[in-house]
């Protein structure tokens, strides 16, 4: 399966599960209708924040190596 196919299959599965929770065919674990409706948006926002934090951390820890440049001053 290509990565695109994996994402589509996973995405469609999640949408089906979410829709079935919304219409009551699957258990809602005490969440209100409004909460269920906005759950996907909330999850996307949380993921976006995590990705941004990861990027910031990776840029912060991206090592500079002046010693490597000094080595080449032949």
């Amino acid at each position: 399966m290509t990565k695109l196919a994996e994402w589509l299959v996973t995405g469609i599965t999640l949408v089906i599960v979410w829709y079935n929770v919304l219409i009551g065919k699957l258990p809602n674990f005490g969440l209100t209708q409004e909460q269920i409706l906005f759950a996907p948006l909330a999850i996307v926002c949380v993921i976006a924040v995590l990705v941004l934090l990861t990027l910031i951390q990776r840029v912060r820890t991206f090592r500079d190596c002046p010693e490597a440049a000094a080595e080449l001053r032949i």
């Binding site: 990565k3 990705v51 990027l55 990776r58 991206f62 090592r63 500079d64 190596c65």
Partner: protein, 237 residues
């Protein structure tokens, strides 16, 4: 004793070429490794090929092999061209502009031998690796592109666009035939296809000294080319 063929595609490197050849020779001789350097010059107007000939007379034609081409024909075909004349069981690819230091080659060789790996790739992003000469913007673009690639492709390799690598000869041959992309994306595609073929991959932290950032721009063209290539790999692998 295995032989290591180092493929060095060159374009206008007449000043760096003697330095990198000297560094390669120093490193490989110190560790007692059998090697040859295959210089693939793409018709450099600055006389790189003439410098290569002089280096050949200094180091010997068993150590310096010349396989020039008439014009710039791209990296993938340069590797194919160089491979045809490589007598080593292992192929090392690296940049000729001193952004990659040959001192890391023994670490690639040791890791490959320890675990019988099909591919060893240098990484700038893992502990011990790093870059010199990049400002904040360049670092953000590099890490951002890499993060996007990790999310979409989950390649199992930390640095996909690097071009400092060691391959088993037959593995490089297989991969280079199946890759269609160019530039950064070509190097990414090589790793992704290596995973598809279940080749074993190891990583060595390396330092990348960019002396040309400022001259080379990471413009809209390069960025759009990268995104297109990433989407192509996302949809087809």
């Amino acid at each position: 004793m295995p032989m290591y063929s180092i493929l060095l595609p060159t374009y206008n490197e007449k000043e760096n070429l003697p330095i990198i050849i000297w560094l390669i020779d120093q490193t490989m001789t110190k560790h007692d490794y059998n090697y040859e350097v295959i210089i693939i010059d793409d018709g450099s107007p600055d006389g790189t090929l003439e410098v290569a000939r002089q280096l050949q007379s200094i180091y010997g034609s068993d150590k310096i092999v010349l396989r020039p081409r008439e014009k710039k024909l791209g990296l993938g075909t340069a590797y194919i061209h160089g491979l045809k004349h490589a007598s080593g069981e292992f192929i090392i690819i690296m940049d000729a502009d001193l952004s990659h230091h040959p001192k890391f080659i023994p670490q690639f060789i040791k890791l490959q031998a320890e675990k019988d790996l099909d591919v060893v790739t240098g990484t700038r992003y893992v502990n011990g690796g790093g870059v010199y000469g990049w400002d904040l913007k360049r670092k953000v673009v590099s890490r951002g592109a890499n993060l996007l690639t990790q999310i979409l492709l989950r390649p199992g390799v930390s640095d996909l666009t690097g071009s400092f690598r060691l391959y088993k000869k037959e593995v490089l041959g297989t991969l280079v035939k199946s890759c269609v992309s160019k530039g950064y994306v070509f190097q990414m595609e090589m790793m992704v296809r290596a995973r598809q073929n279940s080749f074993s991959i190891g990583e060595v932290p390396i330092t990348f000294v960019d002396r040309f950032y400022g001259e080379s721009k990471l413009g809209a063209n390069e960025i759009s080319g990268f995104v297109k290539g990433l989407l192509y790999l996302f949809a087809t692998t």
